[in-house]
Symmetry: C2
């Protein structure tokens, strides 16, 4: 830790002493500001302007908005109003299509549907390759072809090369714009080059030093580069840098994200199979991947295929249906199990009252184990040895909590129905079910993962089936045996 | 999009033509490499060395490891072996405690428990303020005080100032090490200063230009700075930069993350209440926040308080217990509802067989709506107007899927029990339950959010109660009315 900031001596004498950073109040209050979001009044103003048929007002308002705010506006407007705004901004999109990169899939596809191929091509021209690729990936092949044919040859080639990489791979995330310098140059020559050349990426964080075969040797951080004197050879700065982590273009994007997280990278070079430098991935692309993968896991664990917050009623209904249908089958299987014991239930109706308790406790305990395991698989924390440990641990936890809730459950049931045996039945069933729940909650995702199936999606269906069947069968079965 | 890479003309003539980046094969195969993870053989080698009582071998192996790999090793070892390795690396920790920053909370706390206050103080000295703060935050007050008193005055002051900020605020995330330059300097003077001064942060991505009162005016990206000629005044570069997003030190870390995501920031200045520059937050801290918040939501939705993958059996059991206890209460409430209709069940045992179907479908449909809503709240996509739209939409989806599953359910039930009326009962109950499920799944998290309660934690308990009660009551109530 250093003494705070680095600032040259001169301004210090002019400036007041370093600010005491302690907040003025003693509260532990954390503030939540909303100043970085689109003002709802802007949305109202635009809607009013459209109602009043004053398009020039709409144009004026839109011109004042930051791109991210414009994207918010388009997202929040009713589709009809959105189409009006698109009509207003159409000419400017040809020149700067950046707003398209800020939009969620729904709104973006809606807008792309409105624009012509040549307009979209114009919008793409100014974007980085990875952003442009992201826009055209989900379009149908005809429209995509039309857009590509409207692009200049060089841009078209870049996009076609990008499309040749597998979806969700590094090749789709990377920008083709980067700075590569020969190792034998000096810092001074490099600086002169950077000042003279026009064709630099808008933002870059590293300079890649390449050998004569264009293989990247090291990534020089700009902060280190800046500190070096002109006479120093770039090659001599290598020793201070860490080993370069090169990303193969076919590497899965989740792996890319894990590498960035692990080593705290700001950017990393992407190489082809021959190891030559073809692009760079920057941290913001990785942040987006992390965000999307996290959202994906959360939604899937909840039985939702995609973030349908912005989708229409019918689309959402159809999207939700399959999961519910599968769960209906699960529920019917559980009902079949119950029906095996219908004679028992007819005689002891208390069983019908109590039986959902065991099954639902099993479901909850199993879900706990499942959630931790799925998370562990996503972060690659559960490897071979840790998987075995996890299974044993969850069984042990299942036994312990099973005993605890067996005790509580038996007392409640016995007191409620004035019958110690019923208490005993529910107690035993609880232990069996919670142990099985813990085991299944861990084994099912591990097994699915080994079979290369996404555990987040399918696990809970299998788990619910197991916990329901075991829950009902153990409770009703023991009841049949003990009470009758 | 530009024509690919920026590289000077010279090496192009020496180097082969730009690589054709298209992968050699035609497959869409995405590769998943494991080369960036700790080799399991290393763990085995260390364990063997410990068993053979060869500590110098352990030392040799450890010396070859990257810090992230060392952290992995410590995490994967059995606690006894871990303690042995800690004993080996203790002396080096005094000099470089970086490995501590890579560890999960469990392992880290275990290690901090082993080390003395002066050893930890030594480890902290070399770290950035935000990393050091993260290490000592969760320690008990006595140990923390002991560590602080072992630090040099300046470092101690920095940490105490950091601790004065609310937990989970920008003030805790920021580094106090940054580069601030006066606006009237030229690029040339700035470069000379950067080359001469020793006291620079290890990595930085922006130069902050400050006015005489030390308020940040603009953040100059290094890439832009590098491109400018020596004679240019820093103040003249301002026009090309975007408006500076300053982060108040008390701002909640989730808000910070949203700002970084929204504007694609690599770093941002942190200011005190007077607007003066006191620190900087970099993207890697934000990535960690995003990751943690996402993990948090996922775990909470699954009824788990924290990632207890690495915790001991007893700790995990205790951590899982409260959620299960609350759900037991929910299940008992549902059982109470069933018991109201015990006479009906005694007469028509088919009801006991079918009743879990309606309740579980309600739970599943409600969870779908809940998951989307919780996600929407986390990303701040559900604001005032969109919340209303969401509620209406989920009700509509509930009606539509309710009708679909009512149809399917009635057919199954009627066929199974050869009774059209039972089919009708389950159909009506299904519609009612799915509509209520959709409504509750949306309204409950919105209400909790408005009351400043974390919706991810509490929502599912309320939801399950509602769907169970409504599910059982509608089914059994309608059955009582229609069949008897």
């Amino acid at each position: 830790m250093s003494d705070g900031r680095t600032d040259p001596a001169e301004p210090a004498s002019d400036a007041p002493p370093p600010a005491d950073p302690r907040p003025a109040t003693d509260t532990d209050a954390v503030t939540t500001e909303h100043s970085h979001r689109l003002d709802p009044e802007v949305v109202d103003a635009v809607e009013t302007a459209i109602d009043d048929a004053r398009l020039e007002t709409v144009e004026k308002i839109v011109a004042t908005l930051h791109t991210a705010d414009l994207a918010d506006l388009l997202t929040q407007l009713h589709p009809d109003d959105r189409h009006t705004v698109v009509a207003v901004i159409r000419p400017s999109l040809r020149i700067d299509g950046e707003v398209l990169t800020y939009l969620d899939a729904d709104v973006r596809d809606d807008m792309l549907g409105l624009l012509d191929a040549d307009e979209i091509a114009g919008a793409l021209k100014e974007l980085d390759t990875d952003d442009a690729l992201g826009l055209i990936t989900d379009l149908d092949a005809d429209k995509r072809q039309a857009i590509l044919s409207n692009l200049p040859v060089a841009a078209r080639r870049l996009l076609q090369e990008g499309l040749s990489f597998p979806e969700y791979s590094a090749g789709r995330l990377m920008q083709r714009e980067f700075v590569a310098l020969p190792m034998f140059w000096t810092v001074g020559k490099a600086i002169d080059f950077l000042r003279q050349t026009d064709d630099l990426p808008d933002d870059f964080y590293q300079l890649f030093l390449v050998d004569p075969t264009f293989r990247p040797v090291v990534g020089l951080s700009l902060s280190r580069f800046l500190r070096s004197k002109r006479s120093v050879r770039l090659a001599d700065l290598i020793a201070e840098e860490e080993d370069l982590r090169t990303i193969p273009a076919t590497l899965d994007q989740e792996e890319v994200a894990l590498i960035f997280r692990r080593y705290g990278l700001v950017s990393a070079p992407v190489v082809d199979e021959a190891g030559r430098l073809i692009g760079v991935i920057t941290f913001d692309d990785v942040v987006e991947v992390i965000d999307e993968e996290a959202e994906d896991d959360l939604l899937k664990m909840g039985g939702v295929q995609e973030d349908d917050l912005g989708s229409a009623v019918w689309t959402t209904t159809r999207s939700r249906f399959p999961w519910l249908a599968v769960n209906l089958l699960t529920a019917i299987v559980a009902s079949l199990v119950i029906s095996i014991f219908d004679a028992t239930i007819e005689q002891v109706v208390a069983l019908a009252v109590l039986m959902p308790i065991v099954a639902s406790m099993g479901g909850n305990a199993g879900t706990q184990a499942l959630t931790v395991t799925v998370r562990g698989l996503a972060t690659k924390e559960i490897t071979g040895r840790r998987a075995r440990k996890a299974v044993f641990k969850e069984s042990a936890v299942g036994v312990l909590n099973g005993l605890a809730f067996a005790a509580i459950g038996s007392l409640v049931a016995a007191a409620w129905f004035q019958d110690v045996l019923i208490g005993g039945v529910i107690g035993l069933a609880m232990i069996v079910t919670l142990v099985v729940a813990g085991l299944s909650g861990t084994l099912i995702p591990l097994a699915l993962d080994r079979m290369k199936v996404d555990p987040a999606v399918a696990s809970s269906v299998f788990l619910t089936t197991v916990t329901d069947v075991v829950g009902f069968m153990s409770f009703l079965g023991l009841a049949t045996w003990i009470l009758l």
